[in-house]
């Protein structure tokens, strides 16, 4: 069956290559830079006879005025620019800045001539004045855009990392599961103490793994064992209603992965699938390797859409998805196929080993 809903587009925060120029911090940064520019222009050796302070005053007035027009213009244009592809948007913003500088310079020059204030250059040098200002503005504008871009990317990276950590915490096992398991064990102690003992061991392993989930990587083999232990406990609880089929021999067990990527899918399959069906059903976990991609599928029967309880579905899936984005960038995906009576999750991962240190493709991957 064809996948109905492919969704690996979980947004890593917002498209953050251009800041909000209407916000006070950005505006302030613009004005500080503008003042530096005014200072540099005034300090530069010149044939002009006027003393330093009046020159700094008029230069500041001019440059600050230009900076404000830039800020207001970019603020208003931002929604449209963000809809473009980043590099086109950046170029458009840059072109806008140069155009504003050119037009602004030309306007100020004309005004100055008209009012005969003598703040700019002699009348014959209109083109020179405009060109000079654009040439001064060009590197400064480029540096400024680049600075804001890097800053926003860095912030997005920090946000994504915090979110990934938070979500790893959230991915920890549902409290429901703990208490249900305790209840199962309490029942088993009376009738089958041996099984009760095994259940306590499995439960301990699960919680040890879940409590350490925030940090680091784990081998695929360990993750699969964890899912197996989880299902073993659920099998005790649900009895004959839960049947499990494993076909994961083809997977490389030693591959390093972020923790708790598969267990939540299996937990979901029980929670929203088998457990919600009076007659139960079979969960199938399959793994294949296609070239450099691993494909792990978890599928389960589930009540048809009209008969589901509306609460809480999809939380675990969103969670796994955003952690995939954080750790693998575009190299991994979680595909969900909700074909009425059967629910299938397909996890696609790179088969190459991951480095131990942090995410492979940070959100702030440079595009320049």
């Amino acid at each position: 069956m064809p996948p109905r809903a492919t969704s690996n587009t979980a947004d890593p925060a917002s498209p953050a290559w251009l800041p909000d120029f209407c916000s006070l911090p950005v505006l302030f940064a613009m004005m500080v830079v503008a003042e530096f520019v005014a200072l540099i222009v005034t300090l530069a050796p010149t044939a002009e006879p006027r003393p330093f302070w009046p020159r700094l005053g008029s230069a500041s007035l001019f440059v600050q005025w230009l900076a404000l027009i830039h800020a207001v213009g970019l603020c208003k244009l931002r929604p449209r620019l963000l809809r473009l592809r980043p590099w086109i948007g950046e170029l458009a913003a840059y072109a806008f800045m140069l155009a504003v500088t050119a037009l602004g310079s030309s306007l100020v020059f004309s005004l100055d001539q008209g009012l005969a204030l003598g703040l700019t250059l002699p009348a014959s040098r209109h083109a020179h004045f405009v060109t000079r200002n654009v040439l001064i503005g060009a590197p400064i504008g480029a540096a400024l855009l680049r600075y804001f871009y890097v800053l926003e990317q860095w912030r997005a990276g920090v946000r994504a990392e915090a979110r990934a950590r938070f979500e790893a915490l959230q991915a920890r096992i549902r409290p429901h599961f703990l208490f249900n398991s305790m209840n199962t064990i309490a029942s088993l102690i009376r009738v089958r103490p041996g099984q009760a003992e095994a259940a306590v061991e499995d439960l301990s392993d699960l919680f040890r793994a879940a409590l350490g989930a925030g940090d680091g990587l784990r081998s695929l083999g360990e993750e699969l064992d964890l899912a197996r232990r989880y299902l073993r406990i659920e099998q005790l609880r649900l009895g004959e209603r839960l049947d499990v089929l494993w076909r994961v021999e083809a997977l490389p067990r030693e591959l390093r992965l972020p923790a708790l990527l598969i267990q939540p899918l299996v937990e979901n399959a029980v929670y929203h699938g088998v457990q919600a069906l009076p007659e139960g059903g079979r969960i199938e976990v399959e793994g294949h390797q296609h070239g450099r991609t691993l494909e792990i599928t978890v599928s389960n029967p589930c009540p048809p859409p009209g008969r589901r309880r509306s609460s809480g579905n999809g939380m675990a899936l969103t969670n796994v998805q955003s952690r995939l984005v954080y750790h693998f960038g575009p190299h991994a995906a979680l595909e969900v196929d909700d074909a009425g009576e059967r629910f299938t999750c397909t996890l696609r991962l790179p088969a190459a080993p991951m480095e131990e240190s942090g995410p492979r493709a940070p959100v702030g991957e440079a595009r320049y």
């Binding site: 409290p175 429901h176 703990l178 208490f179 249900n180 305790m182 209840n183 199962t184 309490a186 029942s187 088993l188 009376r190 009738v191 005790l236 609880r237 649900l238 009895g239 209603r241 457990q275 919600a276 069906l277 009076p278 009540p303 048809p304 859409p305 009209g306 008969r307 589901r308 309880r309 509306s310 609460s311």
Partner: protein
């Protein structure tokens, strides 16, 4: 004093076993067990227990919905709920003075629950269900056909017509009578059904279009159903708007 006759409903075999054993120790007589809400209602009708201990989370008809149906029996049993971990449920129970047990159940606590087991009116249980989650909806409508319980999945309902004291539910596999009021169904399911007439609710996802008759009356067409239903003048603007967005 005669032993209290108890029905245990839980979808987990081990949980049922343990609860039955504890009930036995507490001096009660477990007359029957059920593995889902539907079975619990059927078994209660047949066995007429004094008390039903219902797990909240069961497939199909869950504990709360089953309790509501039990409240409508001629001789309703007292009800005690059982849950592993439901902050919301516990708050709702406390607010409505409904007794509940937390899993794993303790013997002393079970004894207490048996002693003060009280019969609750279905309206009260409805309140619990509502305060549990404001948007909570039943997944099935319960009807009686010749004395037998019939569950109609809400997703299978085509439309509902109010007639006298009953509501006739037309669904994909036939029609049944239920005792709920049309208004309360409308309130409970909100978005899911649209009122097209004083006496008629239609499943929103079954709406196929409108038909104008020669005499100016307007009918609704439904997918998967031959019937055409009249739209009242009062409900027409809303229905028309909805059909346009389809």
């Amino acid at each position: 004093m005669a032993k209290m006759r108890v029905l245990v409903a839980d979808d987990e075999p081990l949980a049922r076993e343990r609860l039955a054993a504890l009930l036995h120790e507490a001096g009660a007589d477990v007359v029957g067990t059920a593995s889902n809400g539907e079975q619990a209602v059927r078994e209660s009708e047949r066995l007429q227990p004094d008390l039903a201990v219902l797990d909240i989370r069961m497939p199909g008809l869950d504990g709360l919905d089953a309790a509501r149906e039990l409240g409508r029996l001629a001789k309703p049993p007292a009800i005690v709920f059982c849950t592993a971990y439901d902050e919301y449920a516990v708050r709702a129970f406390e607010a409505n003075a409904v007794d509940y047990l937390m899993k794993p159940v303790r013997l002393e606590r079970l004894r207490q629950a048996i002693e003060r087991a009280a019969r609750l009116a279905p309206a009260r249980l409805g309140q619990v269900a509502q305060s549990l989650a404001p948007g909570r909806q039943r997944t099935h409508l319960c009807a009686r056909v010749r004395g037998n319980l019939v569950l109609v999945p809400v997703g299978d309902v085509l439309y509902m017509l109010a007639e006298d004291k009953y509501v006739v539910v037309h669904h994909t596999k036939g029609q049944v009578l239920i005792e709920d009021a049309l208004k309360s169904i409308e309130d409970e399911f909100g978005e899911r059904f649209v009122r097209i007439h004083r006496n008629c609710l239609v499943a929103r996802d079954r709406l196929a279009g409108l038909v104008r008759l020669g005499d100016g009356r307007i009918l609704v067409r439904l997918t998967g159903c031959e019937d055409e239903l009249e739209v009242s003048r009062r409900n027409l603007p809303a229905v028309r708007k909805l059909v346009r967005t389809l």
